[in-house]
Structure formats: structure tokens, C-alpha cells
Symmetry: C2
Subunit: 249 residues, 2 copies
């Protein structure tokens, strides 16, 4: 069944005011009175809803659905600004793979320089991609999208996390293979994890130092060299596997 996110608290009946959402519902999908969809408000609860009036864009909430597909932990990924439109792929796939927030920052070795206006435009575009992916993958939450203006702004947020993992290629090359698994074995539900990734050129020694000073742990993600857009997908899959599949009977 089609799922839509609606900003705000659940109210019954509810009128859809967001233009893009209403357009998809009534112009693209041509919903008519009596048709059912799933609506998800800010509380993350999925609710079965029935169209009362397509003209008024109004739904009646029928019942709450128990389905929750969120990870047991909140995983934020932070990518060094990569080239081209790689952030679009990262954002879409990270949403499908359960990320709680998708961040990016101007890393020392980022080739691209995005200023305020470009940054805001990019953030908007990514937010739309993430919203669409969250609806398609039936998430209960829409991941936050945030592009930091400066690295300082990112560093100021590090204290919010229970665990910070620095995906570091040299660690992987040196044969370090178990740190991530050891850490994940000790994670408890509800904790906030951050994975930091470099851009194409990698993370600079100064950055490693900053992240380590904030409690970050260098981890390898297997022995193969992954492109900058692939590593976050590996990390999210690994967390899901460890906490949703392996740690489950």
C-alpha cells in the first residue's frame, strides 16, 4: 500500500496541505473517496487512512499499524563532500538501508567547494530524494539531511553520539578487521552511532585527530578498497546485519 509522510502530529480527520504530497496522491495516484493509504506523522507510527474527500484532500484515520522497520539504534552517516552527484546515490541508498540521518561535510580533501546557496539547493534536492526513498522503503522516519557549511559545525555535533566510527582505509589495509564487530557486540538499543567517511581522497591526518579527540574509533570495513559512496552502504548493511539479523532468534 502507498505510504506518505505528513508533517505534524496525527489529527483525525487530516487535511493534506503539502503540495507535492497532495499532487502525488490525487493527480498521480488519482486517489478517490474510500481509497486507503498509510500515513506517517511525526510520531513515526504508521496509520491506515481512508480518503474522505479528494477535493478537500481529506483523510480519515482508520487504525494504527504496528509495523516498525526502524533500526534498533540511530545511525548517522557523515560523508566528506564527494564529487558530482554521489551524495544523491548515498542519500537514496542510506535511506533504504535504515540510516537515521545523512550528513555531509567539507573535508580537507574534498575536491568540490559548495558555498551557502549551492549547499542549500543541494540539501533541498537530497531531502526530496530521501523522502521518496523513505516512502518506498516504508520507513517510519524520514532521515534527516544535513550538509555542514564548515567542518567545525560537524565537530560541534560529535558529543551527541554514543559511538563514533571513523571508516579509515589504512586501518583496513593494515588488516584490522574486528574492531567494528567488537564494538557492535556491545551496542544497546536506542544508542546513537555516527560513521564518518572521507571523500574520494580519504580522511586527512588532522581530521582523524579531531574525530579521535571526540572519542572516534578507527575501523576497517573489510579488506577491499571501496569507493567513497560504497563505504556508507557497507557500514549500514553491517549494522543491520549485526543488530537486526544476527542478534535475533
Amino acid at each position: 500500500m502507498q505510504q506518505y509522510f505528513v508533517k505534524g502530529n496525527a489529527e483525525n480527520p487530516v487535511t493534506i496541505t503539502d503540495k507535492e504530497t497532495a499532487k502525488h496522491m490525487f493527480s498521480v495516484m488519482r486517489l478517490a473517496a474510500g481509497d486507503e493509504v498509510v500515513l506517517v506523522f511525526d510520531d513515526g507510527v504508521k496509520r491506515l487512512a481512508r480518503v474522505l474527500s479528494s477535493q478537500d484532500q481529506q483523510f480519515e484515520l482508520v487504525e494504527n499499524l504496528a509495523e516498525n522497520v526502524e533500526m534498533p539504534v540511530e545511525v548517522t552517516i557523515a560523508s566528506g563532500f564527494p564529487k558530482g552527484d554521489k551524495l544523491e546515490l548515498i542519500s537514496q541508498k542510506a535511506t533504504e538501508l535504515g540510516a537515521s540521518a545523512i550528513w555531509a561535510y567539507p573535508a580537507d580533501w574534498s575536491v568540490v567547494k559548495w558555498d551557502g546557496k549551492k549547499l542549500a539547493k543541494k540539501e533541498d534536492k537530497l531531502a526530496k530524494i530521501v523522502l521518496g526513498a523513505a516512502e518506498q522503503s516504508k520507513r517510519n522516519r524520514v532521515p534527516e539531511v544535513k550538509l555542514f557549511d564548515t567542518k567545525k559545525d560537524l565537530l560541534a555535533r560529535l558529543a551527541d553520539f554514543d559511538k563514533i566510527f571513523i571508516a579509515y582505509e589504512e586501518t583496513a589495509k593494515a588488516g584490522e578487521r574486528s574492531a567494528l564487530a567488537q564494538e557492535l557486540a556491545q551496542i544497546t538499543p536506542g544508542q546513537k552511532l555516527l560513521f564518518v567517511f572521507g571523500p574520494e581522497g580519504g580522511i586527512s591526518p588532522q581530521e582523524i585527530e579531531s574525530f579521535e579527540a571526540a572519542g572516534g574509533i578507527k575501523v576497517g570495513l573489510g579488506p577491499r578498497i571501496m569507493r567513497t559512496e560504497t563505504a556508507p552502504l557497507y557500514a549500514l548493511s553491517a549494522v543491520s546485519y549485526a543488530l537486526e539479523l544476527a542478534d535475533h532468534d
Copy 2:
């Protein structure tokens, strides 16, 4: 250091005859006498090699390198033909993530219909993408690329595998979460695993039946709905995490 795959057995000195490889070496990278690269022959051993003559496209093999980044098991992924150029993304990412072979087949619910000529052209293109990705991710092996003409041809190959996993969305929805982890806990090095994925529309009941008749096990890949091109990346990451990171001290 730049890495290249060279078809055939190692010989010393070796002359590069493949036109694309030679072009990249001597026109793009402008290698000159004395420059060093890594060459990987059919035996999968990485060898340090030094240019003897760029005009003759000839290298001297200096020494064998111990580095092996291959998975401890051989993982083949088989995707139902997806729409557009999704197989390109799958092939590139699956190579980075350690796949041993990347297969695709005309599934019951595949929308695209690729005939012999189109299929051969697509296979060629994918093989080039995979070769480039294997060089970039410093693989010891170039994954096989195979697009099956008929599903029968795929089914005839199922007996080659020690384990066949059917990625089945309904299994994931039903809350099945641990089958994959239980199976991976019993895998031994060198075994051959196959993961079968449906196209956008999913795997048909008849296909499930055929794969199960060959010993396939339905597995969920977590609670979220993933796009057809994302599921293989999750599966490969999960196998890597389970066998390369978690099962390691």
C-alpha cells in the same frame, strides 16, 4: 599503486597485448621504463612489475605480493533483469563488495526483454565496468559477468553451489530475521554461495518453487523494503561482515 589484470599465466618478462590495458598504461598513465605497477594474472597473485620498455609494452616481474583481498567464500549474485542501467550500478558495487560472479536472468516479472544481440552488448559493457572496479578496489580476481538467455540456463547451474539464498521480500515482511545469520554461521571457507534476487516486481511463486527445489532457502534481508539494486549490496556486505569482520579475532 595502479593495478592491472593481465589474462593468462604469469610470464617474465611479460608483454601487454590487450589494447585497452596498454592504452591506459602508456597513453593515460604515461608509464615509462622503471615505473612500477601491480599486475594480476589468472592465478590471482598480485605481482610487483616494472616497465622494461614502454615502446614494447614490456614489464619485468619483480616480486610476488602477499596481499589477498578476496572473500573466504565465493559469492555469486543473480539478479532478475532490472530496468534501465541498474545492472551497471549492481555490477560496479558488487565488485567493490567482493562478489565472485555477477549474474542476471530474465525473471518472470522482469519488465525488460533483452534478446541475444542486446544481451551480448550489455554483457560486454558490464564486463568492462567490472574490470575497472576490480582494478580500483584492488581485487585479486575479476568477477565473472554472465547474463542468462533463459531462466532454464540459470537453473541448470544451481547444482554448482553449496548454499542458495533466495532474497524474498515477503519473508522479510513476515519478520523472519535470523535464517541468513544461522546459515552464515555454518559456512566454511571455500564454499560457493548464490544469492538470487527478483527484479523490481519481485520473484514469482513459480520461481521460488524452482529455486527451493534446488535447495534454495528463503531469507529476509532486514525489515526495510530495498530496491532491487540495493538488496545484492546488502547481501554482500552482510557476508563480508559475518565472515571477514565478525568471525575474526
